[in-house]
């Protein structure tokens, strides 16, 4: 029964998937609304299950491991999925393939769980693919839209290429060490050039998933083309999951090569911040805008990661949590507007405050949080990231990051400006916010406002990480 205790999240998720499958294949014709409700309850249950009975251990040799930190990470992902699922309601209700949507979505979540708990490179690779491939299908979910299929194509091609690179790297790693186990690898690493090459390939593979420059180019296109909930999922949950794994792989497995990867991470971080910010500055479409904003945020996360300390891990996990709330708030609002009016240009947000003050304030909160303005949680997130990154004393880097905050501020404020200060004769109509979306937005607001002010979340993560 150890398996039930340790893998309960995964098992429960599988059960939900199976239930969906069975419900569809049998004659029980669930309406979309029923399905949404069932899945939401399921996710809520998953969240609940994740919080109780803490037990650490490993299964299947050491292919599957779990502990409190991993459980927390999984919970964060589940929470993100739940919020997205709540927000997706209006869109999903009109879809013919709601079941498939959820099936694919939950499979990717399962993949992420497995990836997080992975004890060796094979499980990690499987989890990674499992959390990527279905998303390509999801990206294509607006079947009749060219943009959607183009996005899916770009995603799957890039992802195939990236996993090719990743596998190439893993193969060299395997070739030089003879192991694919995370537990054994650290002892076998020597830092030979070939291993460094493998490390770079591995980082590139991760970099692709978290959209670090220069591996990020797919991001904006896919975000723009994919349906809004999928974009939100891509930008928050899937990115968060890979980040979590990246942290542990980099610190635990490649900890001995810190000198090697430090410079690489710094380089990537600088490029990511700069390119992300510069591109975000000139975006006109909300999803592309958020895409590049997320690229820039990754730059800051890489900054923290470069610190290589317990604080780095804590700050990153905390930031993912904060970022989840902030970004999902933004996507939630954008999704509502897009769903009700089909408008996704930034210019369409002009005068939003007049017609939809609540949405405008919501969006503004999200923007402020992303920009890192107190008392929003984003401020704390960013501050801690930079503190963690500064531990190495690379002040040029810190100054550079600080300067990037200004550029970031410029484009986040631009959206606020459009919503609050600009006027237009063709504003978005008054939008009725369904209960589920309301709930999701409320959750996000709470998260944005409270996560930072109350130190509980951060300290909890810290206590888990430092164990």
């Amino acid at each position: 029964m150890e398996i039930l205790e340790l893998m309960r999240s995964e098992i429960m998720l599988t059960l939900v998937i199976m239930m969906l499958l069975i419900a569809t294949l049998s004659d029980a014709k669930w309406s979309n609304q029923t399905m949404i409700t069932v899945v939401n309850i399921g996710l809520l249950g998953l969240l609940a299950v994740g919080f109780i009975f803490n037990k650490s251990g490993s299964l299947f040799g050491d292919m599957f491991a779990t502990n409190d930190l991993l459980r927390l990470e999984k919970n964060i992902l589940t929470l993100g999925t739940l919020i997205i699922s709540l927000q997706a309601g209006p869109w999903l209700r009109k879809q013919e393939n709601a079941m498939e949507f959820y099936l694919l979505l939950l499979t990717t979540l399962l993949g992420m769980f497995l990836m997080l708990s992975a004890g060796n490179l094979l499980m990690f690779y499987l989890g990674l693919e499992m959390s990527t491939l279905p998303i390509a299908a999801l990206a294509n979910f607006d079947l009749k839209k060219r943009r959607s299929s183009e996005a899916a194509l770009k995603l799957i091609l890039s992802s195939a290429f990236a996993s090719g690179m990743l596998l190439f790297g893993i193969s060299w790693l395997y070739g030089t060490t003879g192991s694919i186990s995370f537990a054994l690898l650290p002892g076998l690493l020597t830092g030979s050039p070939l291993q460094l090459f493998a490390l770079i390939l591995l980082i590139a593979g991760f970099g692709f998933k978290i959209s670090a420059v220069p591996f990020h180019l797919w991001t904006a296109d896919v975000y723009e083309g994919a349906p809004m909930p999928v974009t939100a999922y891509l930008s928050v949950v899937s990115k968060g999951a890979v980040l979590f794994v990246f942290l542990s792989v980099l610190f635990k497995v490649f900890g001995s090569l810190e000198n090697a990867w430090y410079a690489i991470i710094v380089t990537l971080s600088i490029a990511t911040m700069l390119i992300g910010n510069l591109f975000a500055l000139r975006q006109q479409q909300i999803k592309r805008f958020l895409a590049f904003s997320s690229v820039a945020q990754i730059g800051f996360i890489l900054l923290a990661i470069s610190g290589g300390t317990v604080q780095s891990t804590t700050a990153t996990i905390f930031f993912v949590l904060v970022y989840l709330f902030s970004n999902l708030a933004a996507f939630g609002v954008a999704g509502l507007i897009s769903e009700a009016t089909g408008r996704e240009q930034l210019a369409d947000y002009k005068g939003l405050h007049r017609s939809n003050p609540a949405l405008a304030w919501m969006m503004a909160l999200a923007m402020f949080s992303l920009a890192g303005v107190p008392p929003m949680a984003g401020f704390f997130g960013k501050f801690f990231l930079i503190i963690a990154g500064a531990s190495k004393g690379n002040w040029f880097f810190i100054v550079f990051a600080s300067l990037n905050i200004i550029i970031a501020m410029a484009y986040y404020l631009r959206l606020v400006r459009l919503m609050f200060m600009d006027t237009t004769d063709n504003p978005v109509v008054k939008i009725n916010i369904p209960l589920q979306s309301r709930l999701a937005l409320l959750l996000c607001t709470g998260g944005i406002l409270l996560t930072g002010i109350f130190s509980g979340a951060y300290e909890y993560i810290y206590s888990l990480v430092s164990n």
Partner: protein, 496 residues
């Protein structure tokens, strides 16, 4: 008294405004500000009753709550006379700001909520003894300013709002680097604790590297030349209460930070960079004054004059003498009150004449004597007339600067003193064109004089100005222990 009460009041008011209907918002805001002012006065009384309030520079009413224990971040509060005078300034300006905004029609609720958020930021900033918290509150105030200017402002408001927000954000970023530098000077052992960091200053090399970040960062807030360009645009586009807050309090955040964070924590570097600070301050003073001379928009006039006046703050800090620092502090309070009042008066004039171009006004004294009289009074305060607070502050800065016989200091002092003439030129020019002179428009003869809320706002501020101007010993005694303890740090260093 737990200083967090000072934070609680605006936050509660903010919540209250949020819950009440829009029509009641201003009353709630007024209530909140009055309560705040009362609380501040009670605080002042309690402060003065403390046996060691005037004896040592100890920071009183300290409370220390752990916030982020893993990062050694504490919600650590405490005040000395300097912060107390800033707190009093804030409460006065906020109350006046609420009063002059009585007629706000657009999005009343949001307006007052943002105003309360601003004041919460300012109070928090002044009571904090933890650099993280200081930074937190400093940044809290940026966005409300942006919103206030952008939504309720006038002219090229979006541009100004963005510029202000970005420049202040940039400044924050620099401060941020400085703070992290201080944090890591001893690998985070002292955390962000201001008291501990002051007791254990960093090595000179570290200070030299981080001082410019902190000082310039805070300096931008207080219109350090050449980073002052947000001031004119921001102030002139902001709504009246916004300008009042910006010039009256927000710029003081910078001055206070320069003093409390940069100079206090990095005294060696302060000595090292003092000539540069003085140079920039002297330039700001004269240059601001000359630039003001060429302006024709009332708000621009006051904004540029703020650049000039805040130069005195920086000069006072830069000379690193007790008199100079005390002068800087008094100048902060004085300029806060004065410029807030000036903006209030400009707002009242603008509301009536619908223009801010001085060439288009004239003879306002005829129809709106109250506003005009106050306008003239605040103008006279601005040019440093004895009896008003500006004089006291400027003289202290002059004396403080003249104490040092170094030619650079002398030249800087001369430049600063020369500004009093230029100030007279633009101030009298303005008064001559706006208040005096022939009545330019028929409609100016039938303007309505100040209403009760406007009167009370103006009187509140002028009372503060006159109090400092007539009885400067009060504020000097109040801030003396604080300046002394900063001075001790500085002289200790220069002695070694």
């Amino acid at each position: 008294m737990n200083l967090l009460l000072l934070l609680l009041i605006p936050v509660l008011t903010l919540a209250g405004i949020g819950l009440l209907p829009a029509k009641k918002a201003k009353w709630m805001a007024l209530l909140g500000s009055v309560v705040q002012l009362v609380a501040c006065i009670i605080l002042l009384r309690l402060f003065l009753q403390q046996p060691d309030a005037t004896l040592s520079g100890a920071l009183l009413f300290q409370n220390d709550y752990t916030w982020y224990s893993s990062l050694n971040i504490h919600l650590h509060t405490g005040i000395d006379g300097i912060s107390l005078s800033m707190i009093l300034l804030t409460s006065l300006v906020m109350l006046a700001g609420v009063l002059v905004s009585w007629n706000i029609q657009k999005m009343t609720k949001e307006f007052f909520m943002l105003l309360m958020l601003l004041s919460a930021g300012a109070y928090g900033f002044f009571i904090s003894l933890d650099l993280f918290v200081v930074f937190f509150f400093l940044e809290i105030a940026v966005i409300p300013k942006f919103m206030l200017i952008g939504i309720w402002g006038s002219g090229k408001k979006e541009y100004s709002a963005t510029k202000l927000a970005l420049m202040l954000m940039g400044a924050s970023a620099m401060i941020f680097v400085g703070l992290i530098g201080l944090y890591y000077q001893d690998q985070g052992a002292d955390g962000f604790n201001l008291v501990a960091l002051a007791a254990n200053p960093a090595p000179l090399a570290v200070q030299k590297f981080f001082f410019p970040f902190a000082f310039i960062g805070f300096g931008v807030f207080t219109a350090l030349f050449p980073f002052h360009t947000w001031v004119p645009d921001g102030h002139s586009s902001a709504p009246t209460a916004g300008s009042m807050f910006l010039a009256g309090i927000s710029m003081k955040l910078g001055g206070y930070g320069c003093l409390r964070v940069a100079t206090y924590l990095m005294p060696d570097a302060a000595h090292y960079y003092a000539p540069w600070i003085i140079l920039l301050a002297a330039i700001a003073i004269l240059y601001g004054a000359f630039a003001t001379m060429m302006q024709t928009d009332l708000k621009y006039i006051n904004a540029y004059s703020s650049v000039s006046h805040c130069g005195f703050v920086l000069l006072g800090i830069g000379v690193l003498t007790k008199t100079g620092i005390a002068g800087a502090v008094i100048q902060m309070v004085s300029h806060g009150l004065m410029t807030a009042l000036f903006f209030a008066m400009i707002g009242m004039v603008y509301e009536r004449t619908h223009t801010r171009d001085i060439a288009k006004m004239g003879g306002l004294l005829k129809s709106i004597p109250f506003i005009s009289t106050l306008f003239v009074m605040v103008a006279l305060c601005s040019l440093g007339l004895p009896g008003f607070s500006g004089f006291v502050a400027e003289m202290m800065v002059f004396i403080g600067a003249w104490e040092n016989a170094n030619p650079l200091y002398r030249i800087a002092t001369l430049a600063a003193t020369a500004s009093i003439v230029v100030t007279a030129v633009y101030i009298l020019n303005t008064v001559g064109k706006v208040i005096m002179g022939p009545v330019k428009k028929e409609s100016f003869l039938h303007l309505k004089d100040a209403a009760w809320y406007e009167k009370s706002a103006a009187l509140l501020l002028i009372a503060g100005i006159l109090l400092i101007g007539m009885a400067p010993f009060l504020i000097i005694n109040l801030i003396e222990p604080g300046t002394q303890s900063i001075m001790d740090k500085i002289t200790l260093i220069s002695g070694k």
